[in-house]
């Protein structure tokens, strides 16, 4: 071959390579990722009752050690001071251990007749707001009702739940029943203001939180549309809440109303409000300034390092993989999920930011099925109590990952913020407000299609 032809081919090859390498990378769509792996590479394959309990499958050795310290603390039962072992419970509290409500790192249960355990708590406030724009605490009661107390102290109050049942019909004339709860505060230790607002909250599963914390703020805000500028009926509003460490208002991510900015603040608040354990973020007893406050200027009842261990524990609990994701009915259900536009708020895919300091959380493609934003859910689900920017009708879209494992992990199927829904289909049918059209869509489905939708949810 003459040399000029060789050169010609070489040039051709070079220019091809050059052109190819200059091409912009394609943006991968949702379908290009493996949706079985709900937690990206930090997904575990377990559908038993331990499904929520696993540490990240890829975790550096030193972090595993801290994870285990956090794990032991999460299980530990606290008792009242003074005690050699784990003192600090109360004087008023809701529960004596993290794991009493987040059983097996999973979901709590509402009060059911004849059963001793319940993991529902009540956030409370009166009209107005505190100095940071958050809920206005109730004089003598604070921001949460502690319905238990150590010996010698009175619980702030009891709460009774009664349900009234109401029948509704799907368009195919099959009926379904929803139970509407009423909460009545009784036996309060001092009289309670009449304008008190109460918000029932059930404990949520605690896995995957580190991944949710690692979604960038820009990404979350990209999906916000507070004034529904695109007129699709769905707004999506960011909550801005007080960050104690930062001393400013920041994006809220955690809790039923996105009222907490970070895992550590959510955990520290739970230690303080649920158990009465003081810590560096919440140094005052939960009954501070109340008549039952012991006025002792104690040290923190949990050390900073243990609180950080709990944070690491919660950051590195792995997400269970999906089951039956390629099942025909499940795929059909997924289609219905899309047609009903559930995905508009229960946003399937997110990405975590690049984080060199914490590679285990870095750059993961995850499927949490939430946008972490607030949405108006209509009057029937409303707690009528605002929480920073969240109105009485607004709730944060809860993640759906792992929801199909609830019965295996926690032995029940109670859903929504106060566990009023007794099954997934009831939970769907409770939706209103921005999700009204989605509910109407489901209401019009055939039995087979409804079942397919549920089967899809169960596969998450």
């Amino acid at each position: 071959m003459p040399y000029y032809i060789k050169i010609f081919f070489l040039i051709l090859l070079f220019s091809f390579l050059l052109l190819e390498s200059c091409k912009k990378p394609e943006t991968l769509t949702e379908n290009d990722y493996n949706e079985w792996l709900s937690g990206g590479s930090q997904t575990v394959f377990d559908k038993s009752s331990s499904a929520f309990k696993h540490e990240f499958p890829f975790l550096r050795e030193d972090k595993i050690e801290i994870h285990e310290i956090g794990d032991a603390l999460f299980e530990a039962q606290f008792i009242s001071a003074p005690s050699v072992i784990r003192p600090g419970l109360g004087p008023v509290f809701n529960s004596n251990a993290c794991s009493s409500c987040h059983i097996a790192d999973g979901r709590g249960k509402p009060i059911i007749a004849n059963e001793t355990s319940a993991s529902l708590l009540f956030r409370i406030s009166i009209p107005g707001s505190n100095e940071h724009g958050g809920p206005n605490p109730v004089p003598g009661f604070g921001e949460q009702l502690q319905t238990n107390a150590i010996y010698g102290t009175q619980a702030e109050s009891g709460v009774t739940t009664t349900y009234t049942n109401q029948f509704y019909f799907f368009d195919d004339s099959t009926n379904y029943e929803l139970q509407i709860p009423t909460y009545t505060i009784n036996n309060s230790y001092i009289s309670m203001p009449s304008d008190i607002m109460i918000s029932p909250r059930l404990s949520r599963p605690v896995f995957g939180l580190g991944l949710l914390e690692s979604i960038t703020e820009e990404d979350i805000l990209d999906h916000a549309d507070e004034y529904d500028a695109n007129s699709d009926g769905i707004s999506g509003k960011a909550n801005y809440v007080w960050d104690i460490q930062e001393q400013k208002l920041v994006l809220g991510r955690f809790g039923w109303k996105a009222g907490q900015p970070s895992i550590i603040q959510q955990a520290a608040l739970a230690f303080n409000q649920d158990m009465g354990i003081t810590n560096f973020l919440f140094p005052n007893e939960n009954c501070y300034d109340q008549t039952q406050y012991d006025k002792l200027n104690d040290e923190y009842e949990i050390s900073d390092s243990l609180l950080y261990a709990i944070r690491l524990y919660l950051r590195t609990l792995a997400v269970p993989a999906r089951r039956n994701a390629d099942d025909e009915t499940v795929l059909k259900g997924k289609q219905i999920f899309t047609q009903a536009r559930c995905y508009m708020c229960h946003r399937p895919m997110s990405k975590t930011k690049v984080n060199v300091a914490f590679p285990e959380l870095s750059n993961q493609t995850i499927f949490p099925y939430t946008d972490l934003l607030l949405h108006d859910m209509g009057p029937s689900l409303a707690d009528n109590r605002s929480d920073f920017l969240a109105s009485g009708e607004e709730w944060r879209t809860p993640p759906l990952w792992g929801i199909g494992l609830t019965e295996s992990v926690n032995g029940h199927t109670y859903f929504l913020h106060d566990g009023r829904a007794r099954s997934l289909i009831e939970a769907v049918m409770w939706h209103g407000g921005e999700a009204e059209s989605a509910k109407i869509f489901v209401k019009a489905l055939s039995q087979a299609d409804r079942d397919a939708l549920i089967k899809f949810l169960e596969s998450l």
Binding site: S48, I150, N410, G411
Partner: protein, 357 residues
């Protein structure tokens, strides 16, 4: 002769070819589902129900013995109360190898076996004036109730309490706590009773056959085996390691009755019970599935269970003392239990995953 040899070789070759072409025997895979179903049912009857019913009988007996002791105040009756406490404790600890279902879902475990006990407040309760009604007991926090609070009342701080040392308030409280314990164990026994509503027995034995919790039998088996490994982990790396590694006897779980080593041993017996499918009565168990395919795994499991039990029994002084006086034995026991845990996780688990559907 030569041709005869050839003929023979040919015949053998043909025979081998024919045999090797035979379809593999499928009888094993067809009878497996029935074996695996039988084992689940037998386990639920002979291990879970038997253990929980025994526990419930013992706590009931504890309550009635406390009543007898209350009227006689004799040291002999106190001794029988202490013995029944140990018997009830034995049943409970032998249930910890299968902490699955309602005992976990309904938080029954932390109520029956709360630890630590809040001694300061317990003394306050005893020095107070409240009548120990059921409502009152229900209003008390968990740390004042359950096995260990009863242990403290029965055995006293130094483990040698006599009948004469009991105050009437202590007797009343003991009575109320025994009654409360019995209520909880009844709830537990009922939760696996096939005749109660929403019972776990039905969900468990119907694994892979319409159970709402276990869509496959394999899942139920994994649950069982994980629970076995779980209690080994708890014994080795929690109950033993925490007081031992921090050399802190105050972290011991059953210090007043000097019962900790017995507790640990019964936990490993619980693993054995699940494996063999026996409590008071022997029936089909995991071993029957294992023996069908892998005798060496069966023998390893049994050896490791026995070694763990034996090494715990080598500790001859109460655990609180042993952590300083017999550290070698304690270390050996911890290692043996961890060894059993590894065997369960690395050998038994993959085995059952392979042999169940």
């Amino acid at each position: 002769m030569k041709s005869y040899k050839y003929l023979c070789s040919l015949a053998i070759a043909i025979l081998i070819t024919i045999t090797s072409c035979k379809k593999p025997d499928t009888s094993q895979t067809t009878d497996t589902p029935s074996t695996t179903t039988e084992i689940l049912t037998a386990f639920s009857n002979n291990v879970v129900q038997a253990t929980y019913n025994d526990l419930n009988t013992q706590t009931n007996l504890l309550y009635s013995d406390v009543l007898v002791f209350e009227s006689s105040l004799s040291d002999n009756d106190l001794i029988s109360c202490k013995q029944v406490w140990r018997d009830a404790r034995s049943a409970w600890e032998q249930g910890e190898g299968f902490l699955i279902g309602p005992v976990e879902f309904n938080n029954i475990d932390p109520q029956i076996d709360t630890w630590p006990v809040d001694f300061t407040k317990l003394d306050s309760v005893l020095n107070g004036y409240s009548v120990y009604t059921t409502t009152y007991i229900d209003s008390l926090q968990d740390a004042l109730k359950g096995f260990h609070a009863i242990e403290y009342l029965l055995f006293g701080k130094n483990g040698n309490k006599t009948a004469a040392e009991f105050t009437s308030r202590e007797l009343d409280f003991l009575k109320a706590l025994s009654f409360d314990l019995n209520t909880l164990t009844t709830e537990l026994a009922d939760s696996w009773n096939e005749n109660t509503n929403d019972n776990y027995y039905t969900k468990f034995i119907n694994a892979g056959n319409g159970s709402s919790v276990y869509d496959t039998q394999r899942l139920a088996y994994e649950e069982l085996v994980n629970a076995m490994a779980g209690i080994c982990d708890e014994v080795a790396n929690g109950k033993i390691a925490e007081p031992f590694l921090s050399i802190d006897p105050s972290l011991e779980e059953s210090p007043f009755a000097f019962n900790s080593i017995t507790d640990f041993t019964n936990n490993i017996r619980s693993v054995q019970n699940v494996y063999l499918g026996s409590y008071t009565k022997d029936g089909k168990g995991l071993e029957d599935l294992v023996r069908q395919y892998n005798l060496s795994l069966d023998s390893d499991m049994k050896t490791k269970i026995n070694t763990a039990i034996a090494s715990l029994q080598n500790i001859t002084v109460p655990f609180g003392q042993a952590i300083t006086e017999q550290p070698t034995q304690v270390q050996n026991a911890m290692d043996a239990v961890n060894d059993l845990k590894t065997e369960i996780e690395d050998e038994l688990l993959p085995f059952i995953q392979q042999h169940t559907n």
